[in-house]
């Protein structure tokens, strides 16, 4: 083997190794960290949702925001105009969280059928609306 071939052999071995290791990493990490995005209607279509962690998207129903007397607990209704789902969150809400505006919350449904949000996402676009909610609304309007 001459120098060039030797060098190439080393490089090819290194790259194959790197590729294998990284694929393993990626598959492992992707398996654990994907969030499925659902609308309230999709949640209602399937029962038995307890303990399943997902992202819920929709609009904050006007007049549904209820703040608790003490602490930072908030209850509100997420709707896609077909189905409503009550959500509860403890913490400071993002600036763009408003009645009638789009929202994405991450969390899971508890035994009482209330969506317990661990995170309410701060989507910084005033016109923001989740894509499939937008499609649903257009369908419902038509």
């Amino acid at each position: 083997m001459n120098n060039i071939q030797k060098r190439r052999l080393y490089y090819v071995i290194l790259f194959t190794l790197g590729l294998a290791i990284s694929t393993a990493f990626i598959l492992f990490a992707l398996k654990k960290n994907i969030n499925v995005f659902l609308t309230p209607s999709q949640v209602f279509q399937q029962n038995n949702f307890t303990d399943y962690h997902f992202r819920l998207g929709g609009l904050v129903k006007p007049g549904s925001i209820l703040r608790e007397k003490n602490g930072l607990g908030v209850q509100f209704v997420i709707t896609d105009f077909k189905h409503d789902l009550t959500a509860r969150y403890v913490g400071v809400l993002p600036d763009l969280f408003r009645e009638g505006k789009g929202v994405i919350a991450e969390g899971s449904v508890n035994a009482q059928g209330i969506f317990i949000a661990t995170q309410v996402l701060a989507k910084h676009d005033e016109n923001y609306m989740p894509k499939n909610v937008y499609q649903e609304i257009r369908k419902n309007a038509a």
Binding site: I4, Y10, G18, F28, N33, F37, H124
Partner: protein, 625 residues
């Protein structure tokens, strides 16, 4: 008037870019020096026309000319002058104009630095890129379109009314676009059939310059996110942030591999491919940010036509470039190489570039995977921060191991036992320092902080021998180590509290007490709001007063949290006002973030390292002359 002249100068610029791209290419093909001579003058003319268009748009913003739709959508008479001038790049159309202006500035720099016999071909490729983007600008996103009715202006997005925003986008764009020079030089060299030392030298100089700006741009962007978004974080793995990190990672690989190409005459094909990848990724970044396929803090306009145009552009340019690469590469395979040893800088640099590309691919996959699934209607999913954190942490640690070994290697064969001795010395010194430092700061030891602090010190120790010979590399590596220390310590030591507070209440956080004194109303030219007053006390000594605000920007009726931060070398104090609850109660978020500044300090040092590399090369050249 401004509209008319603006459009005319853009059309002239389009014409110049056509001349700049077609004639020199024809000249090269037909061996016609007179045609090649068109390259420089037309590049200069194009730059002047673009500059005129850009200045006209700025004038339109400063004089509140709301007959232009773009100005009306992004400005308002009550907007402060500084933000009116920067509002030019506050949305899509102006950003693309700035993109083209920067491309032309880079083209001019190339025209002044490239070797006379090569310059025509390089300029013609840059002209081609400019032509494509001018078409894009004029056809889908003309900034000089008229308004339909009388307008008062819709004001600039309040998120962008921040000093961080004034310099962040230009720096980022200068970095992005700078890689197209490296791309153009590489393509020109491939077409000419000379991937020689001169090519590697010059391409490296421009790539390092672009890398400096990109580093600074990303650092500023993360500083902006920290100050403006109000969530105390500095990196959110937002797809748009990822889009800027992708060219940075491949650019870092490129500038390392170009060293090999220049000093060792090897890995030229790999270097050329990396230049191509960098350019493709900066185009992809532009596509991701500008097409509206992503929804994030940075996408403001959605227009499917733009996305399709950019995607087509990306596909055509990259396919053409790859075709040139594949056709031309076999002609370089036969160059003779020097003897090879596995324990050498060659291996270290190659390993490093491979790892960086792997890191780039994992981020690319996480960013594009949801988009691809959505495009084929396979469900809507999101890949969030946990994915990126769990993939990147081990990768960065592995990269750091090799960053500490690389500078210990030499170009030529070296005695292995000396190398092992040195490495072992650094390893134990790093380990002992890391453990004792962490023990004294935290009082406890976790695996990840110990490993990452040890590796940071291991990197800093490894460059001790090369501070004199390679100051740029030493600086950049130290900057990276400092940044890792900052990221790791701030994420492990930071404390936060979300709570309901009433004036007169106090909260303990870390060694500090925060007293909520009172609130009062404030108003600015284009907003009104409420300012709270917090007194911060440590061990019964007054530290500072913090004044976080809640603002309503009246034109857009948009609520904004304006945080107040007390920065320090060893800790940041950060208060964000939440929502007003009943009877003067507020929800408040308070953060105590140790070593926060180190993240950006490290980024700036990395950039300075890059600058040193450029300066040192100039000096070396002067000496040789």
């Amino acid at each position: 008037m401004i509209r008319l002249f603006g459009e005319i100068s853009l059309i002239f610029a389009l014409f110049c870019s056509l001349i700049q791209s077609v004639l020199p290419l024809l000249g090269h093909w037909r061996h016609h020096p007179y045609l090649s001579a068109f390259a420089r003058p037309s590049a200069l003319a194009q730059f002047i026309f673009i500059l005129i268009a850009y200045i006209l748009l700025t004038i339109a913003f400063t004089t509140n000319d709301f007959s232009i739709a773009y100005v009306a959508a992004n400005s308002h008479a009550s907007l402060p002058l500084m933000y009116r001038m920067t509002a030019v790049w506050g949305a899509h159309e102006g950003s693309i104009l700035l993109w083209i202006l920067i491309l032309n500035a880079w083209t001019l720099a190339t025209a002044m630095n490239d070797a006379p016999r090569n310059v025509a071909l390089t300029l013609s490729i840059l002209g081609l890129i400019s032509f494509c983007f001018l078409c894009f600008l004029l056809l889908t996103s003309n900034p000089f379109l008229p308004t339909t009715g009388p307008q008062l202006g819709r004001d600039l997005n309040p998120l962008l009314q921040d000093p961080g925003f004034v310099i962040h986008p230009p720096m980022l764009y200068i970095g992005y676009v700078g890689f197209s020079v490296a791309f153009a030089m590489t393509m020109a060299a491939l077409i000419r059939g000379q991937l020689d030392t001169a090519w590697a030298q010059l391409t490296r100089r421009f790539a390092v310059a672009a890398w400096c700006f990109l580093t600074l741009g990303i650092t500023l962007g993360s500083w902006w996110a920290y100050r403006v978004l109000g969530w105390g974080g500095f990196w959110f793995w937002d797809p748009v942030e990822n889009a800027s990190l992708l060219p940075w990672l491949s650019g870092t690989a490129l500038i390392h591999v170009l060293v090999l190409a220049e000093k060792r005459q090897t890995a030229k094909g790999w270097a050329a491919l990396l230049a191509l990848i960098c350019f493709a990724l900066s185009l992809l970044g532009t596509f991701l940010v500008r097409s509206g396929v992503l929804i994030s803090a940075h996408t403001f306009a959605n227009d499917p036509a733009r996305g399709i145009f950019l995607l087509l552009l990306l596909a055509i340019l990259i396919t053409a470039a790859l075709a040139v690469y594949v056709i031309r590469l076999p002609t370089f395979a036969k160059t003779e190489a020097r003897p090879f040893f596995w324990l050498s800088r060659d291996t270290a640099l190659m390993l490093n570039s491979g790892l960086l590309i792997v890191a780039m691919m994992t981020i690319l996959l996480g960013t594009l995977y949801p988009l691809v699934l959505d495009a084929f209607h396979l469900g809507t999913i999101s890949v969030g921060a946990p994915y990126f954190n769990s993939v990147m942490t081990p990768l960065v640690l592995i990269v750091m191991v090799f960053m500490g070994l690389g500078p210990l290697c030499r170009w030529e064969k070296q005695p292995i036992h000396l190398f092992v001795q040195q490495a072992a010395k650094n390893f134990f010194l790093g380990l002992i320092t890391a453990i004792s430092l962490l023990w004294s700061i935290m009082g406890q030891l976790d695996v990840i902080p110990v490993i990452s602090l040890m590796l940071s010190i291991w990197i800093i120790l490894s460059i001790v021998g090369s501070v004199r010979s390679l100051p740029g590399m030493s600086f950049a590596h130290t900057g990276f180590a400092i940044m890792v220390i900052g990221i790791m310590l701030s994420s492990f030591l930071s404390e936060e509290r979300e709570t309901r507070m009433h004036p007169g209440n106090a909260v303990d956080l870390g060694p500090y007490q925060f007293f909520f004194i009172d609130t009062k109303s404030v108003s600015g030219t284009n907003y009104r709001g409420i300012r709270a007053n917090f007194d911060v006390v440590k061990n019964k000594h007054h530290v500072t007063n913090l004044y976080p605000e809640k603002r309503i920007y009246t034109v857009r009726d948009m609520v904004m949290t304006t945080v107040d931060i007390h920065p320090g070398v060893f800790r940041d104090l950060y208060i964000a006002l939440g929502d007003p609850l009943s009877d003067d109660d507020w929800s408040v978020r308070i953060y105590y973030k140790p070593f926060m500044r180190w993240v950006w300090f490290g980024g700036v040092i990395m950039m300075l390292g890059g600058l040193l590399v450029i300066l040192q090369r100039k000096e070396n050249r002067a000496k040789r002359c």
